[in-house]
Protein backbone atom coordinates (compact mmCIF):
# COMPACT_ATOMS: atom_id res chain seq x y z
CA UNK A 1 0.00 0.00 0.00
CA UNK A 2 1.36 3.37 -0.95
CA UNK A 3 1.11 6.57 1.01
CA UNK A 4 -0.49 8.27 -1.99
CA UNK A 5 -2.88 6.44 -4.25
CA UNK A 6 -4.24 8.11 -7.33
CA UNK A 7 -6.87 6.03 -9.11
CA UNK A 8 -8.56 6.72 -12.43
CA UNK A 9 -8.26 10.48 -12.19
CA UNK A 10 -9.67 12.40 -15.16
CA UNK A 11 -9.58 16.13 -15.71
CA UNK A 12 -10.79 18.03 -18.74
CA UNK A 13 -10.32 21.68 -19.55
CA UNK A 14 -12.93 22.28 -22.21
CA UNK A 15 -11.91 20.07 -25.11
CA UNK A 16 -8.50 19.27 -23.70
CA UNK A 17 -8.05 16.05 -21.78
CA UNK A 18 -5.45 17.22 -19.27
CA UNK A 19 -5.46 14.02 -17.27
CA UNK A 20 -6.82 10.76 -18.61
CA UNK A 21 -7.17 7.75 -16.29
CA UNK A 22 -4.13 8.51 -14.22
CA UNK A 23 -3.21 5.75 -11.81
CA UNK A 24 -0.29 6.29 -9.53
CA UNK A 25 0.85 4.51 -6.42
CA UNK A 26 3.60 6.17 -4.46
CA UNK A 27 5.30 4.11 -1.78
CA UNK A 28 6.11 5.69 1.57
CA UNK A 29 9.65 6.97 2.12
CA UNK A 30 10.60 7.02 -1.52
CA UNK A 31 11.56 9.77 -3.91
CA UNK A 32 9.25 9.57 -6.87
CA UNK A 33 9.77 11.73 -9.93
CA UNK A 34 7.12 12.60 -12.47
CA UNK A 35 8.52 13.63 -15.81
CA UNK A 36 7.04 14.35 -19.15
CA UNK A 37 7.10 16.88 -21.97
CA UNK A 38 5.42 20.27 -21.68
CA UNK A 39 1.66 19.97 -21.48
CA UNK A 40 1.81 16.37 -20.30
CA UNK A 41 -0.35 17.17 -17.27
CA UNK A 42 2.32 17.22 -14.57
CA UNK A 43 1.24 20.50 -13.03
CA UNK A 44 -2.44 19.60 -13.34
CA UNK A 45 -1.75 16.41 -11.44
CA UNK A 46 0.10 18.32 -8.74
CA UNK A 47 -2.74 20.82 -8.42
CA UNK A 48 -5.17 17.94 -7.98
CA UNK A 49 -3.01 16.53 -5.19
CA UNK A 50 -2.97 19.80 -3.22
CA UNK A 51 -6.65 20.56 -3.65
CA UNK A 52 -6.29 23.47 -6.03
CA UNK A 53 -8.13 21.57 -8.76
CA UNK A 54 -10.93 19.07 -8.35
CA UNK A 55 -10.80 16.24 -10.91
CA UNK A 56 -13.84 15.28 -12.94
CA UNK A 57 -13.64 11.70 -11.75
CA UNK A 58 -11.37 9.35 -9.86
CA UNK A 59 -10.06 9.22 -6.31
CA UNK A 60 -6.94 10.44 -4.55
CA UNK A 61 -6.18 8.80 -1.23
CA UNK A 62 -3.43 10.13 0.98
CA UNK A 63 -2.58 8.07 4.03
CA UNK A 64 -6.11 6.62 3.98
CA UNK A 65 -7.87 10.01 3.62
CA UNK A 66 -9.48 11.26 0.45
CA UNK A 67 -8.03 14.64 -0.50
CA UNK A 68 -10.74 15.46 -3.01
CA UNK A 69 -12.96 18.35 -2.01
CA UNK A 70 -10.63 19.46 0.76
CA UNK A 71 -9.23 22.98 0.76
CA UNK A 72 -5.46 23.44 0.34
CA UNK A 73 -5.03 24.28 4.02
CA UNK A 74 -6.91 21.15 5.06
CA UNK A 75 -4.72 19.01 2.82
CA UNK A 76 -1.67 20.62 4.34
CA UNK A 77 -2.98 19.74 7.78
CA UNK A 78 -3.13 16.11 6.64
CA UNK A 79 0.63 16.22 6.04
CA UNK A 80 1.27 17.35 2.47
CA UNK A 81 3.56 20.31 1.87
CA UNK A 82 4.31 21.91 -1.45
CA UNK A 83 7.33 23.69 -2.88
CA UNK A 84 6.45 25.95 -5.78
CA UNK A 85 8.18 26.56 -9.08
CA UNK A 86 8.97 30.11 -8.00
CA UNK A 87 9.53 30.16 -4.24
CA UNK A 88 6.40 31.28 -2.41
CA UNK A 89 7.58 32.88 0.81
CA UNK A 90 6.48 35.78 2.99
CA UNK A 91 8.63 38.47 1.41
CA UNK A 92 7.84 41.19 3.95
CA UNK A 93 8.75 39.09 6.97
CA UNK A 94 12.10 38.01 8.33
CA UNK A 95 13.49 34.57 7.62
CA UNK A 96 12.82 33.59 11.22
CA UNK A 97 9.20 34.72 11.08
CA UNK A 98 8.78 32.90 7.78
CA UNK A 99 9.65 29.65 9.48
CA UNK A 100 7.71 30.37 12.65
CA UNK A 101 4.38 30.71 10.82
CA UNK A 102 4.31 27.11 9.57
CA UNK A 103 5.29 26.06 13.10
CA UNK A 104 2.25 27.83 14.49
CA UNK A 105 0.08 26.24 11.81
CA UNK A 106 1.42 22.82 12.74
CA UNK A 107 0.96 23.34 16.48
CA UNK A 108 -2.32 25.27 16.56
CA UNK A 109 -4.21 24.08 13.50
CA UNK A 110 -5.89 26.10 10.78
CA UNK A 111 -7.14 28.87 13.07
CA UNK A 112 -6.40 29.81 16.63
CA UNK A 113 -6.94 33.23 18.09
CA UNK A 114 -3.86 34.23 20.03
CA UNK A 115 -4.14 37.97 20.02
CA UNK A 116 -2.37 38.63 23.29
CA UNK A 117 0.40 36.04 23.47
CA UNK A 118 3.80 37.47 22.56
CA UNK A 119 5.81 35.91 19.74
CA UNK A 120 8.91 36.34 21.84
CA UNK A 121 7.55 34.06 24.53
CA UNK A 122 7.13 31.14 22.09
CA UNK A 123 10.53 29.64 22.87
CA UNK A 124 9.61 26.14 21.69
CA UNK A 125 8.53 27.45 18.29
CA UNK A 126 11.66 29.53 18.07
CA UNK A 127 13.86 26.55 18.92
CA UNK A 128 12.22 24.38 16.27
CA UNK A 129 12.58 27.15 13.70
CA UNK A 130 16.24 27.61 14.54
CA UNK A 131 16.90 23.90 14.21
CA UNK A 132 15.39 23.73 10.75
CA UNK A 133 17.22 26.89 9.64
CA UNK A 134 20.42 25.29 10.79
CA UNK A 135 19.55 22.24 8.67
CA UNK A 136 19.26 24.32 5.51
CA UNK A 137 22.23 26.52 6.42
CA UNK A 138 20.21 29.68 6.83
CA UNK A 139 20.59 30.33 10.54
CA UNK A 140 22.97 33.22 9.95
CA UNK A 141 20.35 34.98 7.89
CA UNK A 142 17.43 34.57 10.27
CA UNK A 143 16.97 38.32 10.77
CA UNK A 144 17.07 39.22 7.10
CA UNK A 145 13.92 40.22 5.25
CA UNK A 146 12.96 37.28 3.10
CA UNK A 147 12.48 39.31 -0.08
CA UNK A 148 16.12 40.40 0.02
CA UNK A 149 17.42 36.83 -0.19
CA UNK A 150 19.00 35.38 -3.31
CA UNK A 151 16.91 32.99 -5.34
CA UNK A 152 18.75 29.97 -4.06
CA UNK A 153 18.28 31.10 -0.47
CA UNK A 154 14.60 31.73 -1.10
CA UNK A 155 14.35 28.13 -2.27
CA UNK A 156 16.12 26.92 0.87
CA UNK A 157 13.83 29.02 3.00
CA UNK A 158 10.75 27.62 1.29
CA UNK A 159 12.04 24.09 1.89
CA UNK A 160 12.63 24.97 5.52
CA UNK A 161 9.08 26.28 5.79
CA UNK A 162 7.77 23.00 4.42
CA UNK A 163 10.08 20.74 6.41
CA UNK A 164 9.44 22.41 9.74
CA UNK A 165 5.91 21.00 9.57
CA UNK A 166 7.37 17.50 9.29
CA UNK A 167 5.17 16.61 6.34
CA UNK A 168 4.68 13.00 5.37
CA UNK A 169 4.70 13.98 1.73
CA UNK A 170 6.66 16.79 0.13
CA UNK A 171 5.64 17.86 -3.36
CA UNK A 172 8.29 19.69 -5.34
CA UNK A 173 7.30 21.53 -8.49
CA UNK A 174 10.45 22.01 -10.55
CA UNK A 175 12.61 22.88 -7.55
CA UNK A 176 15.59 23.77 -9.73
CA UNK A 177 13.83 25.69 -12.50
CA UNK A 178 15.92 28.60 -13.67
CA UNK A 179 18.92 27.73 -11.49
CA UNK A 180 22.54 27.66 -12.49
CA UNK A 181 24.23 24.26 -12.45
CA UNK A 182 26.00 24.97 -9.16
CA UNK A 183 22.74 25.98 -7.47
CA UNK A 184 21.04 22.93 -8.92
CA UNK A 185 23.72 20.70 -7.43
CA UNK A 186 23.34 22.42 -4.08
CA UNK A 187 19.61 21.80 -4.18
CA UNK A 188 20.19 18.14 -5.03
CA UNK A 189 22.56 17.81 -2.09
CA UNK A 190 20.08 19.57 0.16
CA UNK A 191 17.26 17.23 -0.87
CA UNK A 192 19.48 14.18 -0.42
CA UNK A 193 20.43 15.38 3.03
CA UNK A 194 16.81 16.02 3.95
CA UNK A 195 15.87 12.56 2.75
CA UNK A 196 18.65 10.91 4.71
CA UNK A 197 17.65 12.59 7.97
CA UNK A 198 13.94 11.86 8.15
CA UNK A 199 11.12 9.64 7.03
CA UNK A 200 9.65 11.57 4.18
CA UNK A 201 8.11 10.83 0.82
CA UNK A 202 8.95 13.18 -2.00
CA UNK A 203 7.24 13.67 -5.30
CA UNK A 204 9.33 15.70 -7.71
CA UNK A 205 8.14 17.21 -10.94
CA UNK A 206 11.17 18.14 -12.94
CA UNK A 207 12.44 18.87 -16.40
CA UNK A 208 16.10 18.59 -15.58
CA UNK A 209 17.07 14.94 -16.13
CA UNK A 210 20.23 15.45 -14.13
CA UNK A 211 18.12 16.22 -11.05
CA UNK A 212 15.69 13.41 -11.73
CA UNK A 213 18.33 10.74 -12.15
CA UNK A 214 20.32 11.95 -9.15
CA UNK A 215 17.40 11.77 -6.77
CA UNK A 216 14.55 9.58 -7.90
CA UNK A 217 14.02 6.00 -6.86
CA UNK A 218 10.98 5.58 -9.08
CA UNK A 219 10.04 7.56 -12.16
CA UNK A 220 6.67 7.97 -13.83
CA UNK A 221 6.61 9.31 -17.34
CA UNK A 222 3.49 11.24 -18.25
CA UNK A 223 2.56 11.97 -21.84
CA UNK A 224 -0.63 13.64 -22.99
CA UNK A 225 -2.24 13.23 -19.61
CA UNK A 226 -1.63 9.49 -19.16
CA UNK A 227 1.19 7.63 -17.46
CA UNK A 228 3.30 6.05 -20.16
CA UNK A 229 5.52 3.95 -17.98
CA UNK A 230 6.63 3.68 -14.39
CA UNK A 231 9.93 2.14 -13.45
CA UNK A 232 13.32 2.59 -11.80
CA UNK A 233 15.66 5.24 -13.23
CA UNK A 234 17.95 2.69 -14.85
CA UNK A 235 15.13 1.05 -16.72
CA UNK A 236 13.61 4.39 -17.71
CA UNK A 237 16.86 5.54 -19.30
CA UNK A 238 16.83 2.67 -21.72
CA UNK A 239 13.12 2.47 -22.31
CA UNK A 240 12.40 2.91 -26.01
CA UNK A 241 8.92 4.38 -25.50
CA UNK A 242 10.28 7.03 -23.19
CA UNK A 243 13.05 7.97 -25.56
CA UNK A 244 10.53 8.40 -28.26
CA UNK A 245 8.06 10.44 -26.23
CA UNK A 246 10.29 12.58 -24.18
CA UNK A 247 14.00 12.21 -24.17
CA UNK A 248 14.24 12.43 -27.92
CA UNK A 249 17.74 11.99 -29.23
CA UNK A 250 19.40 13.62 -26.23
CA UNK A 251 21.82 11.25 -24.57
CA UNK A 252 21.45 11.18 -20.81
Amino acid sequence: MGILEVSDVNKRFGGLQALGNVNLNIAANTVHAIIGPNGAGKSTLLNVLVGKLIPDSGTVLFDGHSVLGRKPYEINQLGISRVFQTPEIFGDLTVMENVMIPCFAKRDGAFKMQGLASILSQSDIRATAEMILEDVNMLGKSNMTASSLSRGDKRRLEMAMCLVQEPKLLLLDEPTAGMARADTNNTIDLLKEIKSKRDITMVIIEHDMHVVFSLAERITVLAQGTPLVEDTPDNIKGHPKVREAYLGEAQV
Binding site: E88, L93, M113, S118, T145
Partner: protein, 395 residues
Protein backbone atom coordinates in the same frame (compact mmCIF):
# COMPACT_ATOMS: atom_id res chain seq x y z
CA UNK B 1 6.75 46.47 30.76
CA UNK B 2 3.31 44.75 30.74
CA UNK B 3 4.58 42.19 28.26
CA UNK B 4 6.06 44.74 25.85
CA UNK B 5 9.68 44.81 24.75
CA UNK B 6 11.76 47.89 25.41
CA UNK B 7 11.13 49.48 22.02
CA UNK B 8 7.37 49.08 22.29
CA UNK B 9 7.44 50.29 25.86
CA UNK B 10 9.14 53.46 24.66
CA UNK B 11 6.48 53.97 21.97
CA UNK B 12 3.78 53.40 24.58
CA UNK B 13 5.34 55.84 27.03
CA UNK B 14 5.70 58.40 24.25
CA UNK B 15 2.02 58.16 23.40
CA UNK B 16 1.11 58.22 27.09
CA UNK B 17 3.17 61.36 27.67
CA UNK B 18 1.73 63.07 24.60
CA UNK B 19 -1.82 62.17 25.59
CA UNK B 20 -1.49 63.16 29.24
CA UNK B 21 0.34 66.42 28.58
CA UNK B 22 -1.61 67.40 25.47
CA UNK B 23 -3.48 70.26 27.19
CA UNK B 24 -0.09 71.85 27.89
CA UNK B 25 1.82 70.80 24.76
CA UNK B 26 -0.90 71.98 22.42
CA UNK B 27 -1.14 75.41 24.04
CA UNK B 28 2.39 76.73 23.51
CA UNK B 29 1.31 80.31 22.86
CA UNK B 30 -0.03 82.71 25.50
CA UNK B 31 -3.74 83.45 25.28
CA UNK B 32 -4.37 86.70 23.46
CA UNK B 33 -1.08 86.64 21.54
CA UNK B 34 -1.13 86.79 17.76
CA UNK B 35 -0.10 83.13 17.58
CA UNK B 36 -2.84 81.94 19.89
CA UNK B 37 -4.84 80.80 16.89
CA UNK B 38 -2.34 77.98 16.45
CA UNK B 39 -3.17 76.69 19.89
CA UNK B 40 -5.09 73.46 19.81
CA UNK B 41 -5.29 72.78 23.51
CA UNK B 42 -8.99 73.17 24.00
CA UNK B 43 -10.96 70.09 25.06
CA UNK B 44 -13.24 69.92 22.05
CA UNK B 45 -10.39 69.61 19.59
CA UNK B 46 -8.18 67.40 21.76
CA UNK B 47 -11.06 64.98 22.18
CA UNK B 48 -11.28 64.75 18.40
CA UNK B 49 -7.53 64.03 18.14
CA UNK B 50 -7.83 61.20 20.58
CA UNK B 51 -11.10 59.74 19.32
CA UNK B 52 -9.93 59.70 15.74
CA UNK B 53 -6.64 58.29 17.01
CA UNK B 54 -8.58 55.31 18.39
CA UNK B 55 -10.46 55.01 15.10
CA UNK B 56 -7.21 55.01 13.12
CA UNK B 57 -5.46 52.54 15.44
CA UNK B 58 -8.32 50.12 14.88
CA UNK B 59 -8.30 50.71 11.15
CA UNK B 60 -4.57 50.00 11.12
CA UNK B 61 -5.12 46.56 12.64
CA UNK B 62 -7.08 45.67 9.53
CA UNK B 63 -5.31 47.68 6.84
CA UNK B 64 -1.79 47.82 8.25
CA UNK B 65 -1.59 44.14 9.14
CA UNK B 66 -3.70 42.32 6.56
CA UNK B 67 -3.57 44.84 3.73
CA UNK B 68 -7.35 44.69 3.28
CA UNK B 69 -8.35 48.28 2.51
CA UNK B 70 -11.81 48.91 3.90
CA UNK B 71 -13.60 51.95 2.56
CA UNK B 72 -16.56 51.57 4.85
CA UNK B 73 -15.26 51.88 8.37
CA UNK B 74 -17.29 55.01 9.05
CA UNK B 75 -20.37 52.78 9.12
CA UNK B 76 -19.11 51.27 12.39
CA UNK B 77 -18.33 54.72 13.74
CA UNK B 78 -21.88 55.82 12.99
CA UNK B 79 -23.40 52.65 14.42
CA UNK B 80 -21.38 53.20 17.59
CA UNK B 81 -22.68 56.77 17.90
CA UNK B 82 -26.29 55.77 17.40
CA UNK B 83 -26.03 52.97 19.96
CA UNK B 84 -24.51 55.32 22.51
CA UNK B 85 -27.20 57.95 22.06
CA UNK B 86 -29.88 55.27 22.40
CA UNK B 87 -28.39 54.27 25.72
CA UNK B 88 -28.59 57.90 26.82
CA UNK B 89 -32.20 58.03 25.75
CA UNK B 90 -33.23 54.75 27.35
CA UNK B 91 -31.08 54.40 30.47
CA UNK B 92 -29.26 57.45 31.74
CA UNK B 93 -26.54 59.88 30.73
CA UNK B 94 -23.84 57.58 32.16
CA UNK B 95 -21.25 56.87 29.45
CA UNK B 96 -20.33 53.34 30.55
CA UNK B 97 -23.39 51.45 29.22
CA UNK B 98 -23.30 53.66 26.14
CA UNK B 99 -19.71 52.71 25.31
CA UNK B 100 -20.29 49.02 26.02
CA UNK B 101 -23.31 48.88 23.73
CA UNK B 102 -21.60 50.83 20.96
CA UNK B 103 -18.71 48.36 20.90
CA UNK B 104 -21.04 45.35 20.93
CA UNK B 105 -23.32 46.67 18.20
CA UNK B 106 -20.34 47.65 16.03
CA UNK B 107 -18.93 44.15 16.51
CA UNK B 108 -22.17 42.48 15.40
CA UNK B 109 -22.44 44.82 12.47
CA UNK B 110 -18.86 44.19 11.39
CA UNK B 111 -19.25 40.41 11.68
CA UNK B 112 -22.03 40.63 9.13
CA UNK B 113 -20.31 43.07 6.75
CA UNK B 114 -16.95 41.35 7.13
CA UNK B 115 -18.40 37.92 6.51
CA UNK B 116 -19.81 39.05 3.17
CA UNK B 117 -17.03 41.43 2.07
CA UNK B 118 -14.09 39.18 2.91
CA UNK B 119 -15.16 36.70 0.27
CA UNK B 120 -13.30 39.00 -2.08
CA UNK B 121 -9.95 40.71 -1.75
CA UNK B 122 -8.21 43.74 -3.24
CA UNK B 123 -10.32 46.35 -4.96
CA UNK B 124 -13.46 44.19 -4.81
CA UNK B 125 -13.24 44.07 -1.04
CA UNK B 126 -12.87 47.86 -0.91
CA UNK B 127 -15.87 48.35 -3.16
CA UNK B 128 -18.01 45.94 -1.15
CA UNK B 129 -17.24 47.70 2.13
CA UNK B 130 -17.85 51.08 0.49
CA UNK B 131 -21.19 49.84 -0.82
CA UNK B 132 -22.20 48.60 2.62
CA UNK B 133 -21.24 51.86 4.27
CA UNK B 134 -23.11 53.96 1.73
CA UNK B 135 -26.09 51.67 2.12
CA UNK B 136 -25.99 52.15 5.89
CA UNK B 137 -25.69 55.89 5.42
CA UNK B 138 -28.69 56.06 3.13
CA UNK B 139 -30.76 53.77 5.31
CA UNK B 140 -29.95 55.85 8.37
CA UNK B 141 -30.92 58.93 6.44
CA UNK B 142 -34.27 57.67 5.20
CA UNK B 143 -35.77 54.26 5.92
CA UNK B 144 -34.51 53.91 9.46
CA UNK B 145 -35.75 57.32 10.55
CA UNK B 146 -37.61 55.86 13.56
CA UNK B 147 -34.26 54.59 14.88
CA UNK B 148 -31.92 57.27 13.59
CA UNK B 149 -34.15 60.32 13.48
CA UNK B 150 -33.15 60.86 9.85
CA UNK B 151 -31.80 64.21 8.79
CA UNK B 152 -32.21 65.85 12.19
CA UNK B 153 -29.90 63.37 13.82
CA UNK B 154 -30.49 61.39 16.97
CA UNK B 155 -30.44 63.37 20.19
CA UNK B 156 -31.66 63.19 23.75
CA UNK B 157 -34.95 64.89 24.60
CA UNK B 158 -36.52 65.69 27.96
CA UNK B 159 -39.40 63.38 27.11
CA UNK B 160 -37.09 60.35 26.73
CA UNK B 161 -37.71 57.56 29.25
CA UNK B 162 -34.20 57.32 30.75
CA UNK B 163 -35.25 54.46 33.03
CA UNK B 164 -32.11 54.43 35.17
CA UNK B 165 -31.97 58.15 35.69
CA UNK B 166 -32.08 58.89 39.42
CA UNK B 167 -33.21 62.14 40.96
CA UNK B 168 -30.40 64.68 40.86
CA UNK B 169 -28.31 62.82 38.27
CA UNK B 170 -26.50 65.10 35.83
CA UNK B 171 -28.46 65.81 32.66
CA UNK B 172 -25.25 65.90 30.63
CA UNK B 173 -23.05 62.91 29.87
CA UNK B 174 -21.13 61.76 32.92
CA UNK B 175 -19.00 58.93 34.28
CA UNK B 176 -20.74 57.90 37.51
CA UNK B 177 -21.35 61.53 38.37
CA UNK B 178 -18.18 63.03 36.92
CA UNK B 179 -19.47 65.29 34.17
CA UNK B 180 -17.63 64.99 30.87
CA UNK B 181 -17.61 68.75 30.40
CA UNK B 182 -16.06 69.35 33.82
CA UNK B 183 -12.91 71.37 33.20
CA UNK B 184 -10.14 72.54 35.45
CA UNK B 185 -8.43 75.62 34.08
CA UNK B 186 -4.89 76.44 35.11
CA UNK B 187 -3.81 80.04 34.66
CA UNK B 188 -0.05 80.41 34.44
CA UNK B 189 1.13 83.89 33.54
CA UNK B 190 -0.20 84.62 30.08
CA UNK B 191 -0.98 80.95 29.47
CA UNK B 192 -4.16 79.13 30.20
CA UNK B 193 -4.46 75.36 30.19
CA UNK B 194 -7.75 73.41 30.21
CA UNK B 195 -7.88 69.96 31.75
CA UNK B 196 -11.23 68.42 30.88
CA UNK B 197 -12.62 65.22 32.38
CA UNK B 198 -14.00 64.17 29.00
CA UNK B 199 -10.64 64.55 27.34
CA UNK B 200 -8.88 62.48 29.96
CA UNK B 201 -11.40 59.68 29.70
CA UNK B 202 -10.84 59.57 25.93
CA UNK B 203 -7.08 59.71 26.43
CA UNK B 204 -7.11 56.78 28.86
CA UNK B 205 -9.19 54.75 26.42
CA UNK B 206 -6.73 55.70 23.68
CA UNK B 207 -3.88 54.32 25.77
CA UNK B 208 -5.80 51.12 26.41
CA UNK B 209 -6.58 50.84 22.69
CA UNK B 210 -2.96 51.51 21.78
CA UNK B 211 -1.66 48.97 24.29
CA UNK B 212 -4.03 46.34 22.93
CA UNK B 213 -2.94 47.06 19.37
CA UNK B 214 0.73 46.67 20.32
CA UNK B 215 -0.03 43.32 21.88
CA UNK B 216 -1.92 42.25 18.75
CA UNK B 217 0.94 43.39 16.50
CA UNK B 218 3.42 41.29 18.47
CA UNK B 219 1.28 38.18 18.81
CA UNK B 220 1.18 35.04 16.67
CA UNK B 221 -2.20 36.33 15.49
CA UNK B 222 -0.61 39.58 14.29
CA UNK B 223 2.22 37.66 12.65
CA UNK B 224 -0.28 35.53 10.75
CA UNK B 225 -2.12 38.66 9.61
CA UNK B 226 1.14 40.06 8.26
CA UNK B 227 1.77 36.76 6.50
CA UNK B 228 -1.66 37.03 4.88
CA UNK B 229 -0.74 40.50 3.63
CA UNK B 230 2.56 39.23 2.30
CA UNK B 231 1.51 36.06 0.49
CA UNK B 232 -1.94 34.57 0.79
CA UNK B 233 -1.09 31.66 -1.49
CA UNK B 234 1.62 30.48 0.87
CA UNK B 235 -0.67 30.95 3.86
CA UNK B 236 -3.17 28.53 2.31
CA UNK B 237 -0.45 25.98 1.56
CA UNK B 238 0.91 26.36 5.07
CA UNK B 239 -2.25 24.93 6.58
CA UNK B 240 -3.75 28.18 7.81
CA UNK B 241 -7.30 29.19 7.05
CA UNK B 242 -6.98 32.86 6.14
CA UNK B 243 -10.69 33.69 6.30
CA UNK B 244 -11.27 33.55 10.08
CA UNK B 245 -8.04 35.47 10.64
CA UNK B 246 -9.07 38.32 8.37
CA UNK B 247 -12.60 38.28 9.78
CA UNK B 248 -11.23 38.53 13.32
CA UNK B 249 -9.06 41.49 12.29
CA UNK B 250 -12.05 43.09 10.59
CA UNK B 251 -14.25 42.70 13.66
CA UNK B 252 -11.56 43.99 16.02
CA UNK B 253 -11.09 47.09 13.90
CA UNK B 254 -14.87 47.47 13.68
CA UNK B 255 -15.04 47.41 17.47
CA UNK B 256 -12.39 50.11 17.68
CA UNK B 257 -14.48 52.20 15.29
CA UNK B 258 -17.56 51.54 17.39
CA UNK B 259 -15.72 52.67 20.50
CA UNK B 260 -14.63 55.84 18.72
CA UNK B 261 -18.19 56.48 17.58
CA UNK B 262 -19.49 55.90 21.09
CA UNK B 263 -16.95 58.35 22.47
CA UNK B 264 -17.98 60.98 19.94
CA UNK B 265 -21.52 60.64 21.25
CA UNK B 266 -20.31 60.74 24.86
CA UNK B 267 -18.58 64.05 24.28
CA UNK B 268 -21.56 65.45 22.45
CA UNK B 269 -24.74 63.35 22.72
CA UNK B 270 -25.79 63.68 19.13
CA UNK B 271 -25.51 61.29 16.21
CA UNK B 272 -26.10 62.11 12.58
CA UNK B 273 -26.04 59.99 9.47
CA UNK B 274 -23.25 62.05 7.89
CA UNK B 275 -20.88 60.35 10.32
CA UNK B 276 -21.27 57.23 8.14
CA UNK B 277 -20.68 58.91 4.82
CA UNK B 278 -17.88 57.80 2.54
CA UNK B 279 -15.88 60.96 3.22
CA UNK B 280 -15.61 59.88 6.85
CA UNK B 281 -14.45 56.42 5.74
CA UNK B 282 -11.92 58.04 3.44
CA UNK B 283 -10.63 60.24 6.22
CA UNK B 284 -9.52 57.33 8.36
CA UNK B 285 -7.73 55.82 5.35
CA UNK B 286 -5.89 59.13 4.91
CA UNK B 287 -5.00 59.29 8.59
CA UNK B 288 -3.54 55.80 8.57
CA UNK B 289 -1.56 56.23 5.37
CA UNK B 290 -0.38 59.72 6.28
CA UNK B 291 0.89 58.54 9.64
CA UNK B 292 2.31 55.29 8.30
CA UNK B 293 0.20 52.19 7.67
CA UNK B 294 1.42 49.14 9.52
CA UNK B 295 3.37 51.14 12.08
CA UNK B 296 2.30 51.35 15.69
CA UNK B 297 2.18 55.07 16.35
CA UNK B 298 1.64 56.19 12.74
CA UNK B 299 -2.17 56.16 12.86
CA UNK B 300 -2.25 58.24 16.05
CA UNK B 301 0.13 60.78 14.51
CA UNK B 302 -1.85 60.84 11.27
CA UNK B 303 -5.12 61.40 13.10
CA UNK B 304 -3.65 64.23 15.16
CA UNK B 305 -2.00 65.77 12.12
CA UNK B 306 -5.13 65.80 9.97
CA UNK B 307 -7.46 66.99 12.72
CA UNK B 308 -5.01 69.71 13.79
CA UNK B 309 -4.52 71.15 10.34
CA UNK B 310 -8.18 70.79 9.46
CA UNK B 311 -8.92 72.94 12.47
CA UNK B 312 -6.13 75.48 12.00
CA UNK B 313 -6.48 76.00 8.27
CA UNK B 314 -10.22 76.29 8.42
CA UNK B 315 -9.91 78.93 11.15
CA UNK B 316 -7.63 81.26 9.21
CA UNK B 317 -9.62 83.74 7.13
CA UNK B 318 -8.80 86.73 4.92
CA UNK B 319 -8.74 89.16 7.84
CA UNK B 320 -6.05 87.09 9.51
CA UNK B 321 -4.09 86.94 6.26
CA UNK B 322 -4.26 90.71 5.89
CA UNK B 323 -2.85 91.03 9.39
CA UNK B 324 0.02 88.67 8.55
CA UNK B 325 0.99 90.43 5.35
CA UNK B 326 0.29 93.93 6.58
CA UNK B 327 4.00 94.78 6.40
CA UNK B 328 3.91 94.55 2.60
CA UNK B 329 2.90 97.33 0.19
CA UNK B 330 -0.87 97.32 -0.29
CA UNK B 331 -0.87 96.05 -3.87
CA UNK B 332 1.49 93.17 -3.13
CA UNK B 333 -0.40 92.36 0.06
CA UNK B 334 -3.64 91.93 -1.86
CA UNK B 335 -1.97 89.75 -4.49
CA UNK B 336 -0.47 87.47 -1.83
CA UNK B 337 -3.75 87.24 0.05
CA UNK B 338 -5.55 86.36 -3.18
CA UNK B 339 -3.01 83.61 -3.87
CA UNK B 340 -3.20 82.14 -0.39
CA UNK B 341 -6.96 82.53 -0.10
CA UNK B 342 -7.98 79.23 -1.80
CA UNK B 343 -5.81 77.26 0.62
CA UNK B 344 -7.39 78.44 3.85
CA UNK B 345 -10.82 78.73 5.40
CA UNK B 346 -13.16 76.54 3.40
CA UNK B 347 -10.23 75.56 1.21
CA UNK B 348 -8.47 73.61 3.96
CA UNK B 349 -9.21 70.40 2.09
CA UNK B 350 -7.00 71.63 -0.74
CA UNK B 351 -4.04 72.25 1.54
CA UNK B 352 -4.49 68.93 3.28
CA UNK B 353 -4.79 67.19 -0.09
CA UNK B 354 -1.51 68.69 -1.24
CA UNK B 355 0.20 67.72 1.99
CA UNK B 356 -1.14 64.21 1.66
CA UNK B 357 0.19 63.94 -1.88
CA UNK B 358 3.59 65.21 -0.80
CA UNK B 359 3.77 62.68 2.01
CA UNK B 360 2.70 59.75 -0.15
CA UNK B 361 5.18 60.65 -2.89
CA UNK B 362 8.19 61.50 -0.77
CA UNK B 363 7.53 59.46 2.35
CA UNK B 364 5.72 56.26 1.39
CA UNK B 365 6.08 55.12 4.99
CA UNK B 366 4.19 58.17 6.22
CA UNK B 367 5.12 60.57 8.98
CA UNK B 368 6.81 57.76 10.89
CA UNK B 369 9.26 57.31 8.04
CA UNK B 370 9.84 61.07 8.03
CA UNK B 371 10.63 60.96 11.72
CA UNK B 372 13.02 58.07 11.21
CA UNK B 373 14.85 59.88 8.42
CA UNK B 374 15.30 62.92 10.63
CA UNK B 375 16.42 60.66 13.44
CA UNK B 376 18.97 59.08 11.14
CA UNK B 377 20.40 62.46 10.19
CA UNK B 378 21.18 63.07 13.84
CA UNK B 379 22.61 59.65 14.60
CA UNK B 380 24.91 58.82 11.71
CA UNK B 381 27.12 56.78 13.98
CA UNK B 382 24.61 53.96 14.13
CA UNK B 383 25.48 51.37 11.48
CA UNK B 384 23.15 51.89 8.57
CA UNK B 385 21.79 48.34 8.49
CA UNK B 386 20.76 48.45 12.14
CA UNK B 387 18.96 51.72 11.55
CA UNK B 388 17.16 50.46 8.48
CA UNK B 389 16.15 47.26 10.23
CA UNK B 390 14.65 49.34 13.02
CA UNK B 391 12.98 51.58 10.48
CA UNK B 392 10.99 49.03 8.57
CA UNK B 393 7.32 50.04 8.59
CA UNK B 394 6.09 46.60 9.60
CA UNK B 395 8.15 46.65 12.77
Amino acid sequence: MFGLNSKDTRAFLLIAALAMLAPILLNPFPTGSALAQFNAGYPDLMQRFVIFGIFAIGFNILFGLTGYLSFGHAAFLGVGSYSAVWMFKLLSMNVVPALILSVIVAALFSIFIGFVSLRRSGIYFSILTLAFAQMSFNLAYSVFTPITNGETGLQVYNSDPQYLMAEGDPTVTHFFGLEMRETFTLQLGGWSFDFAAGYYMCALLLLAAFYLSVRIFRSPFGLTLRAIKSNQQRVNYTGLNARPYTLAAFVISGMYAGLAGGLLACMDPLAGAERMQWTASGEVVLMTILGGAGTLIGPVLGAGFIKYFENIFSKINDTVLHQWFAFMPDGLENVIVTIVHPFIGKGWNLTLGLMFMAVVIFLPGGLVEGGQRIGKLFSKRIPSDAASAAGRPSE
